[in-house]
Symmetry: C2
Subunit: 354 residues, 2 copies
């Protein structure tokens, strides 16, 4: 079943409760691969791109990936369907907006996606809820092995996997986590964390990638360089040192807020809750902000409402985005219509209290 | 029973539902009187003021006012009790803050108050819920007559009742209504109304008098001149021409908002409701603003909640003020404590939904 057929669910990686979900929204491992015998896409003709797409498509569908996958030809998909995939983080924004022959294979649980003809010939990613990078890595490796049995990947004994961009050269791996850091934001410590991340050659992006850093206090942290280190080294450093440290900082900041500014914190989380439960018009940025504040309230046990968990909020972060709303509505909605539909949807999900 | 003994009720004039209560909060008729044989207060010695107070007190308590009254010696009252009387509009701010011998008699239903040694020797006022100026006037006249049987009022056949300030000379009457004009405020037409009021020699003040004009979209409209016109002329003009016109303007503006900007209006009133029902800290100005918006929602039938009527909101406008909160708490509260107590009180009154 293609993911765009079920617009009111957000995929297993967000619906289930993962480890450390108070701070970690999701984990992602992405591998970049290119086929030998074909030029990189920057130098490929339209004909070669089409050949590549067909070759990959047939072999991906044919490969034993341990889970059923659906193939989506992005050149034949509607703009809305492509936007749904972007909002679910199953394809990149660039892949959604591209013009050339391109596609994506998506597993039925939406944890695995394999983009064809994005920046590299193949980019396979595994998404997991909460902090499950090792699990995601294991799964990505298994998928990689299954694909390698069908496809001949460009590999140099000296450089490792060859990739279109040198930052991916070597292992071709990118590991990233989406962190929810509202307390570090409130206390102003977030800037110190950003500087530390930069020193460790980590990239810090926002919920929707580059340029959306502050939205909803959601930060995507990922490794930047892949050459000269083994996948295991990169992963161990990231999973066992960097991310646990960040989680610890955020938790300490939350405890400090709770202890020193309890009434102010309560006021903030309950006002956000009140607005989400009662507003009749909600913009996407405001919804993201309010959901983020409520998420903090739920994580700290300040907000306890039947049927409202961290996972409820995680799902709503995805489902309140423009393309998802239009899928749910079953028709195109302009900005004003979306604000109304979004507010109605949020109220219904939180248990309409008015 | 002195009014400050029942801090969680706001007096009958606010608890009951008066005519035109969608727009008119309350009506007030005030008469200024001075005793012959005593100088005006600006020229009275401390001894004369004390004499005046004792003479008035004895005769007010003795007079047949048709309702039991309590006497409150403001020089012996606590600052908090005086502030409660100010917040209930039973005494003026100046009277509450004064230093000289002064007092007030308050009827048990809190509809009548008689200030002694305010600007004039006596200022008697009758308050009514909604638009009930004629009724208030009738009552004020009856009280005036009863007092005149006991006290000798300074009166000139040419000028009428003599008063400390020439604007009160003649009838000594001031009629005023507290109007709720949120729609005229939203549409910007309020400025036109203010100019028209000025042309008609009407004073426009805020909920708390001079300088609080915009707070909660509450406007107190009153006549300014009293000389050369009979009480009946002043009243008829005010009741039958001026105020009905203003009520009509506000209602038309509400209908226009409802018709042309329904979703925006709904969003605004429900967000205000959501914040009132969920905030953990509420300042007095914000509470006034939010209650005003919710009042509009209730008046237009956009907000229908069990146990929440126009009267509920009217009462809360009074009860959420600083002195009332401290009376309810039974102890002094600083600003931060009041914000918390106010939020808790508002949630409990609206039926805690969290």
């Amino acid at each position: 079943m293609p993911p765009t057929d079920a617009p009111d669910s957000a995929g297993r990686w967000l619906s289930e409760s993962g480890p450390q979900s108070d701070v970690v929204i999701s984990s992602r491992v992405r591998l970049a691969r290119n086929l030998s015998g074909y030029p990189f896409l920057t130098r490929a003709s339209a004909h070669q791109r089409r050949d590549l797409l067909n070759a990959c498509r047939a072999r991906i569908v044919d490969a034993d990936l341990g889970t059923p996958v659906s193939w989506i030809d992005l050149n034949e998909s509607s703009a809305l369907d492509r936007q749904v995939l972007v909002e679910r983080h199953l394809i990149s924004r660039q892949h959604g907006q591209g013009k050339n022959a391109r596609g994506v294979a998506v597993s039925s649980d939406q944890c695995i996606s394999i983009m064809v003809n994005e920046e590299d010939h193949l980019r396979l990613q595994v998404l997991r809820s909460g902090l499950q990078l090792q699990d995601a890595y294991g799964r990505a490796n298994a998928v990689d092995d299954a694909l390698e049995r069908k496809l001949d990947f460009a590999y140099s004994p000296r450089l490792g996997y060859l990739t279109a961009c040198p930052t991916n050269l070597g292992t071709g791996i990118r590991v990233s986590v989406m962190l929810h850091l509202p307390a570090l934001k409130m206390t102003g410590e977030i800037d110190r964390l950003r500087r530390a991340a930069k020193d460790m050659h980590l990239a810090v992006r926002g919920f929707h990638g580059e340029g959306t850093e502050a939205m909803g206090d959601l930060y995507q942290i990922s490794n930047q360089t892949t050459l000269g280190r083994s996948e295991e080294q990169i992963l161990a450093d990231f999973c066992e040192v960097v991310i646990p440290k960040m989680i610890e900082y955020e938790r300490k900041a939350r405890q400090a807020l709770h202890r020193d500014r309890g009434p102010v914190l309560d006021d903030r989380v309950w006002r956000a809750w009140g607005t989400l439960c009662h507003a009749r018009l909600l913009g996407s940025e405001e919804a993201l902000y309010l959901l983020s504040v409520v998420r903090l309230g739920v994580a700290l046990g300040r907000i306890k409402q039947e049927g409202v968990s961290i996972e409820t909020i995680n799902q709503m972060l995805i489902l309140t985005q423009p393309a998802h709303l239009q899928k749910m509505a079953g028709e195109p909605l302009d900005g004003a219509q979306r604000r109304k539909f979004r507010a109605d949807f949020v109220r219904s999900r939180l248990g309409d209290r008015s």
